[in-house]
């Protein structure tokens, strides 16, 4: 796994030459304020270890040109959420921290207004995708600076789909069921997590529910889960599970689908690009047959969930201005040229200007092409309502995964599953 390749070293080296370029700064007047600051940043440690090194290297260069120091802590998703909560509760924490999904709404009162830099970055880079605003703007104020969307796609085996008679990936969920049934008969079922997987599992169940026209709440936060559309989605998943899926999906965590896919147990799953990355890295024999496709469309269209990653500055920070400046730098072209090229489309910027840049992974690598433009039309927790702490909790309590999963494995009838889910959702929204 020592894949800090020569290419990346060169890029890192090139960075110091780019030192002048770090003067990129939408708020030039802040340059002075960074001097002498010690900024701490807590962020997600990517499985693409070179990406972490690139980010850390870039920040070190930035720090030295600005006479500041930056300490970057790479942690897992869970630890990010725990630190954020603890920091917001006690005022002890890093200056800036990565947040997932709609957390800026949940912790808005503990976060600094970053509208100035968020607007500047957006304007300088062709504008933000709508989901960036959805996740980060609370009552008209940016509470976090969008960083990237971990775009999810259908990951599938071209060889197996062709063998089953499907040359292109199914466009609709109905077609997916047909293809999946054939593939399961071949002994290569589909596998979408219906378990406690905050990434893949929630991504899938929210996308399916929305694409069938269902939703947890309407735009005014009225609970509307019990609908014919929701029932249709549940019936679909029940059938998909019985006819086309791996029987263990109800216990799959975020890593289980990667492992099953790479071990050649399933022909398709939903994931970000990490499967292809690992497949190539470990030289899996069918690595060349791995491809990505858009999620299928349902009766209500293609309403996909998007996993937003943003940086918030905690109000307890004593380096607010310097931290803002650092976050601007992280979203600069300088940094994105490194991360976007190396990030395997897992890191997809939330602004539009790099969509057609030939250096970016989604343009340079045809197997990642499906990710291009995907972020334009995705949503975060709570949609179609404005996100809220309650909407986040519905996801973090796995209410939908449990609803779909229990129906699929036959642990509950559709009525029972909806009733259980609604009781939990009511508690969450009322209390």
């Amino acid at each position: 796994m020592k894949n800090l390749s020569r290419r990346n070293f060169l890029r890192l080296g090139g960075l110091s030459a780019l030192g002048a370029a770090t003067a990129f700064n939408p708020l030039g007047n802040l340059i002075v304020s960074a001097q002498g600051s010690e900024i701490s940043l807590q962020t997600w440690g990517s499985f693409i270890t070179t990406n972490n090194a690139l980010l850390e290297g870039a920040l070190a260069t930035w720090a030295s040109t600005n006479d500041a120091s930056v300490s970057v802590n790479f942690t897992g998703f869970d630890a990010l959420a725990d630190t954020l909560s603890t920091a917001a509760a006690t005022g002890a924490g890093p200056d800036a921290i990565m947040m997932l999904h709609a957390r800026p709404h949940q912790f808005a009162e503990a976060l600094v207004d970053v509208s100035d830099i968020a607007n500047a970055i957006g304007e300088a880079n062709g504008g933000w995708f709508p989901v960036a605003e959805e996740a980060c703007v609370v009552d008209g104020v940016w509470r976090a600076v969008p960083f990237f969307v971990a775009a999810h796609a259908m990951v599938y085996r071209e060889d197996l789909f062709a063998e089953a008679g499907f040359d292109a990936f199914p466009e609709t969920y109905d077609d997916l069921l047909v293809a999946g049934t054939a593939l399961k008969e071949m002994g290569m079922p589909l596998g979408f997590s219906l378990g406690r997987a905050d990434g893949d599992g929630n991504n899938f169940v929210f996308s399916v529910l929305w694409s069938f026209g269902g939703a947890v709440t309407d735009e005014e936060d009225n609970i509307v889960l019990d609908s014919p559309e929701t029932r249709m989605a549940l019936e679909y998943i029940q059938q998909l599970y019985n006819d086309a899926m791996d029987p263990n999906v109800a216990s799959w965590d975020d890593g289980a689908n990667n492992r099953a896919f790479l071990a050649g147990e399933v022909s398709c799953t939903n994931n970000a690009s990490s499967i292809l990355w690992a497949g190539r890295n470990d030289a899996v024999e069918f690595a060349d047959s791995i491809n990505h496709a858009l999620y299928p469309a349902g009766p209500a269209g293609r309403n996909q969930f998007g996993q937003v990653h943003s940086y918030g500055i905690l109000s307890s920070s004593e380096n607010i201005d310097a931290t803002k400046e650092m976050l601007s730098f992280i979203n600069s072209d300088t940094v994105w040229q490194l991360l976007g090229a190396d990030g395997f489309a897992f890191l997809y910027p939330m602004f539009r200007s790099l969509e057609d840049d030939p250096n970016m992974a989604w343009n340079a690598d045809e197997k990642l092409g499906a990710f291009k433009g995907l972020a334009e039309d995705v949503h975060t927790h709570g949609w179609p309502a404005t996100p809220s702490a309650a909407a986040s909790q519905v996801a973090s309590d796995f209410v939908l995964s449990d609803m779909f999963g229990s129906v699929a494995v036959g642990a509950a009838s559709i009525d029972e599953a909806i009733e259980t889910a609604i009781e939990q959702i009511e508690t969450i929204y009322d209390a």
Binding site: K2, S46, T49, F74, T86, A92
Partner: protein, 299 residues
Amino acid sequence: MTAIQAKQKRGVTTMRADRRFQEGVWNTLAGVGLVAFLVIWLFPVFWMGITSIKPNAEITRQEAPLGVAEPTLDNFTFLFDTENRVQFVRWSLNSLMVSTATTLLSVVAGTMAAYALVRFKLIGGSAMGLGIFVTYLLPQTLLFIPMTYIVRQLNLYDNLFALVLVYPTMMVPFCTWLMMGYFRAIPSDMENSARVDGATRWQAFYMIALPLARPGIISASIFTFTLSWSEYLYALVLMPSSANQTIPIGVPNALSSGDVFIWGSLMAAALLGSLPVVLVYAFFMRYFVSGMMVGAVKG
């Protein structure tokens, strides 16, 4: 030899043979039982070991998972390769520092408190004893938010000293409780005669009672060290910086990210990370057992 005597003699022989047979049965059963325990209880450890020496490709291979075709030490060297953001040495030193300091603090505070509570007729002594013991019952999940708040007030967030301050809250009650049992079990005659000979109360404690209580102190230390070594929740919320983390936090944090787990190195780290505690046990097992006994019986 009369018929009766012969009969009696035969009876004795059969009884002996019976007993020997019985013992044979018990020995066999015990042997089988022990082997069964060893196999079941050590299988996960074996699995850890075998996974830690598998190359990446073999870890997810499903044929003959119990063996290794091409054993490798890469998973171990990975832990010491600074390029991978794995600061295993650093985490080990952190763990060692925190566990040692916690053990010292807890055992010293616990032993002194236990002695005073057992030997002196303190006003409010039994209430204090009960209070100390009740703190052992409070679940971590209840206390850690307010505790984090205090840690921030003390400016110790993301600082190893925070753990040295927080861990004893779980360990002091146990040490006090164990040592109270121990001091109760030691007759106070020798301390009394030392007093008659002119020793102060402190000297009676320090020079007479303390040496006698050594097995108890050792087992309290080992117990405290083990629990500090593997503590998870407080370290998780109080130590965000990789450089300040302990083994139970640093290892899973660095070796699993999102949906990619580096199994081989995780297992290697689990094995290496348990080694110091295993060594402590190997040296002190005997004292641990006897110390636990007296403490527990007289508690």
